[in-house]
């Protein structure tokens, strides 16, 4: 028997239609969370079941798929999802941000600027930005209906009262198209400015919470702040140890049990691209060091 065991891209057609209709409404109402009948997927909640369903509904045979987890193409989650679609949809996969037409991401936005022919699909754990402030869905829904977001500003103010600055470092709330306050998923706030006026379409899928939302291309996305405490993207004050980048988001890697650590780009494709182009940092891998030495000797 050579008959495929699954439909193209795993989901059945009725499910895809339902998700596709939700995606269209999500695009039409930027930042509003559209309820959808999330299906059980062959992976646990928290592994990106929402993002996977959105990707499955939009993916076609001509697409080139990239999957990242915290910026990395090489982690278990990213590799599993990439293989899942390579197997069930037979699509081409890549690690290059530039070549991809669909990028599924967990918690990062690539450093390389996105372009108009791309769709960025976010995996979202908790889509409701107000959930930790107001646990009742009926109430948060009414707050969104009335654009009543004072509570969120109070939360940010309490940060300032307690710590002297807005201490929210990830899942930093944004206002989309001057209407809906939206959770950008747990991306570091460093990435928030990339969402504003982005040429690519951004789709968000939350599987367990059964919500889909979207930011159309070229849409205003503003991080909430105060006049006297303006929004500031946070970044470790160090260059990348491998590629020397001064403007990328860094991961802190503990390298032994004596407290040594290094800072490297969280976006592996960006870092590798820079290294291949000849940039190197303090702890570059050997080939680049050798080349640099050869250059200085020669």
């Amino acid at each position: 028997m050579n008959a495929p065991a699954y439909n193209f891209a795993y989901l059945d057609e009725q499910t895809k239609r339902m998700i596709r209709r939700a995606i269209l409404k999500a695009i039409a109402i930027p930042g509003y969370q559209v309820p959808f009948a999330s299906r059980e997927m062959p992976m646990p909640y928290g592994w990106g079941t929402g993002g996977v369903q959105v990707t499955a509904a939009i993916l076609g045979p001509q697409d080139v798929l990239k999957v990242i987890d915290q910026g990395s193409d090489d982690t278990t989650n990213a590799i599993s999802i990439r293989k899942f679609f390579a197997k069930t949809a037979g699509v081409a996969t890549t690690t290059s941000t530039d070549e991809a037409t669909v990028i599924q991401t967990r918690h990062r936005i690539p450093e390389t600027s996105l372009h108009a022919n791309q769709v960025l699909v976010y995996q979202v754990p908790i889509p409701e930005p107000l959930r930790f402030l107001e646990p009742r869905e009926t109430e948060t829904r009414r707050m969104h209906a009335l654009a009543e977001y004072g509570l969120m500003h109070v939360k940010l103010y309490e940060d300032i009262a307690r710590f002297g600055h807005i201490a929210t470092a990830y899942a930093y709330p944004v206002k989309v198209n001057a209407r809906y306050v939206m959770d950008p998923s747990p991306t570091p706030k460093f990435d928030n400015p990339k969402m504003d006026n982005c040429p690519a379409l951004q789709l968000f899928g939350a599987g367990r919470e059964k919500r889909i939302y979207a930011i159309p291309p070229y849409t205003q996305v503003v991080s909430l702040d105060f006049e006297d405490h303006p929004f500031e993207p946070y970044r470790f004050n160090a260059p990348c140890a491998l590629c020397g980048a001064e403007n990328s988001y860094l991961d802190e890697i503990v390298t032994d049990d004596k407290g040594s650590r290094m800072f490297v780009c969280s976006d592996t494709d960006y870092c590798e691209g820079r290294q291949a182009a000849g940039h190197h940092g303090a702890q570059s891998a050997a080939p680049y060091k050798d080349k640099a030495q050869e250059a200085s000797n020669g």
Binding site: E13, R17, K25, P30, L59, G60, A145, L146, P199, L201
Partner: protein
Amino acid sequence: MTTIAELPPGFADKVLSAQSTFRSVMDAMARPGSVQPIVPMAGAPDTMMRGTAAIALTLFDHDTPLWLDARMADSSDVLKWLKFHTGAPVIQDSSIAAFALISDGVLLPALERFALGTNEYPDRSTTVIIQVDSLGTGRSFELRGPGIDGVATLQASIRPFDLFERLRVNETLFPRGIDVVLVADDAVVAIPRTTRVVSKGV
């Protein structure tokens, strides 16, 4: 009496045609005013354009109450084709329709008669699919809003002539509102409720 064998066919490849049609509609919705091509791979009954038929096969099913304009509702070919290929229930009450099919813009009823959603659930609104004469020639319209880098220009011959004036109701209703999909043969343009349209004259 039409037998099933005489009905125009649905998609030759249900899965891939639905995917490519959806991507065209999604791109249209994400970039209002841009004209997206639909690769027509299905038959279409009388009064229905190829693009409209493809969108119907892609998005309609038993979960989507469907409202038809008088011309389509009177055509047994259309009703049978929709029933056989999509299973979408055709309803008389436009205010609970998920989709509305308008074969000719002059038959478009007042927009308030469609579902506008609620402030709590603005997504529970009708997507109105209107067949128009041309997307590419005709009057110029300036479009602004999410999905548009500055200003987009759409050239189209559209009936009703005052469609975009009527759609200004979306400005005051937001987040409630009506999303419109314009179809001319195999070309599609979407005007979601966030798009603001200014006529630029002829």
